[in-house]
Symmetry: C2
Subunit: 318 residues, 2 copies
């Protein structure tokens, strides 16, 4: 069921891709998502080359199914990251935060598939021109780094799907079968899911961080960093309150950068400090009620989606 | 086809509601949407009581089908607006920007149905408690006045649908059959559509304003007024550039208010000044390619939605 072009391109059973998550998307989660029929992507942004090698070795021990790596192109060693990923058995590379032109050909020449994350139509077109196999259209509701245009999934996906010929993967706001079906209705051929997998048993996030996702209300996230590191979405806490206050008072970028500091995301994700650490999270976190295994997430998503399709039949009756 | 609870509540053929649009949603558009099987709502925000009476008389001459009025509860004469609406034949009142408790009972006692617009779960629950017949869950991508929580349609609709028992109408980012089906997948029982009807033949918007909607790209809108009049989404132009610059430079609310000035929306919508006027518009404007009649909008939306449902069948095959 639910075989789309995305399944064919990546050799997977369901068109569900794990969003690359800093500190959170490590070997166990990647393997669990792939083993359940989706495409696991290692969140390699904070990893050294050696860590990538080790994590991929761990993934390969847990699944024979396809998996991949997310690489932010801002990393000066993106080249080595790509090489290590392919050596480690990745058959898909997702690139983000940079120009897809630079690496796409090189990755594809090694027999690997390429996804690029775009937050507007113009970037999606550039990704297609660069030869990527699929483009991830990521909306403003998504957790973590965010496009400056603030285009939401609902508005972005149909516009991107209308502008490119390659398959579109919707990201942002998708945590269950309702989100999957909405994405497919909008013209996507698959979904990328972050926050729902952050609250999965196998995610490497600290239990406090997972609990914060489960507890947050619909309006529990905010965007900071518009004038400094670029917009990022995270769960509201003492840190985001402090940053927003300073931003509203017109603090200078250098003051803000000092306040944001380094290692804030590790502080939350690894140490479990949910007061002073940055908890990247999407708006759909408000709808997540409890932990699940990655396999439960995927199975529930697919069975809910199937029952939505069946329920739609009655709409066709006059 | 597409009979949902929303159709039954409002006595309409299709679950498509015209969003109340200042200066734009006048008699011709209201009548055309209702006549095509949706629910036309008069955008009464900028109208005197006499204008409401005149417009509703014009509507009643053009259609025998149900129609309604959108009333922002901030208006000090909201009471008289409601009375004039019901006298004028409205069978539905949509309230926004205020507490639904104040008027819902009074409106319902006169045999009229009530919709309330909410931009987060807590307001949706309050609307249900107040006894409204349906709640409009409006996402951040919508044009015009916007919730401070910035929750997008994709994230908001399933959370609201999970939190209330009354039917939910999705608003924000919906301009075609893809948007309609996405909304229904997310748990909505209908949609409210603004921007697509702004670019309809019967809309009272100045041709320059309609042309600006048709020409705008996906990232052609922005949000201003966060620290003053409340966030509003409009097409980027000289005016929004100026406001954003001042906001980023930490201008005081009173300076910003003077800059925003009065009558900016009329300047665009009535006089056609798209450089210095405010052009309220949703993000989905980027996907709108040309003018249509209101009937074409609705018919195209329904037939596209039906073909999406049919295309979903193949997803159920193993």
């Amino acid at each position: 069921m639910f075989k789309t072009e995305i399944c064919k391109i990546f050799g997977i059973e369901y068109p569900i891709i794990l969003g690359g998550m800093l500190w959170v998307g490590k070997a166990d989660l990647v393997a669990a998502v792939s083993e359940a029929g989706g495409l696991g992507l290692l969140g390699a942004a904070g990893m050294t080359i050696e860590e990538i090698e080790n994590e991929l070795e761990k993934v390969a021990r847990q699944t024979k199914k396809p998996f991949g790596v997310n690489i932010p192109l801002l990393r000066p060693d993106a080249d080595e990251m790509i090489e290590a990923s392919i050596r480690g058995g990745a058959t898909a590379i997702s690139t983000s935060a940079g120009n897809p032109k630079k690496y796409t050909r090189k990755i594809k020449d090694q027999g690997c598939r390429v996804l690029h994350v775009a937050a507007n139509v113009s970037f999606a077109r550039k990704s297609e021109d660069a030869g990527v196999d699929a483009v991830v259209a990521e909306g403003y509701e998504a957790g973590g780094h965010n496009g400056r245009d603030e285009i939401t999934t609902m508005a972005l996906v149909p516009q991107v799907a209308g502008a490119v010929d390659i398959p579109v993967v919707a990201a942002g706001g998708i945590a269950d079968g309702r989100g999957l079906m909405a994405a497919l209705a909008l013209g996507a051929k698959g979904v990328q899911v972050g926050t729902r997998f952050l609250a999965a048993d196998e995610a490497a996030a600290h239990p406090n961080y997972k609990e914060a996702v489960i507890q947050m209300p619909d309006n529990g996230t905010c965007v900071t960093g518009r004038t400094t590191v670029g917009p990022t979405r995270a769960i509201k806490n003492e840190l985001t309150d402090m940053i927003i206050k300073a931003e509203n008072e017109g603090a200078k970028p250098e003051e803000l950068l000092e306040m944001i500091g380094e290692g804030r995301s590790a502080m939350a994700a690894i140490e479990g400090n949910c007061v002073k650490g940055t908890m990247y999270c999407g708006q759909i976190g408000g709808g997540i009620q409890g932990l699940k295994s990655a396999m439960e997430v995927i199975n529930d998503m697919i069975s809910e989606a199937a029952s939505i399709i069946r329920s739609f039949q009655s709409l066709l009756q006059g």
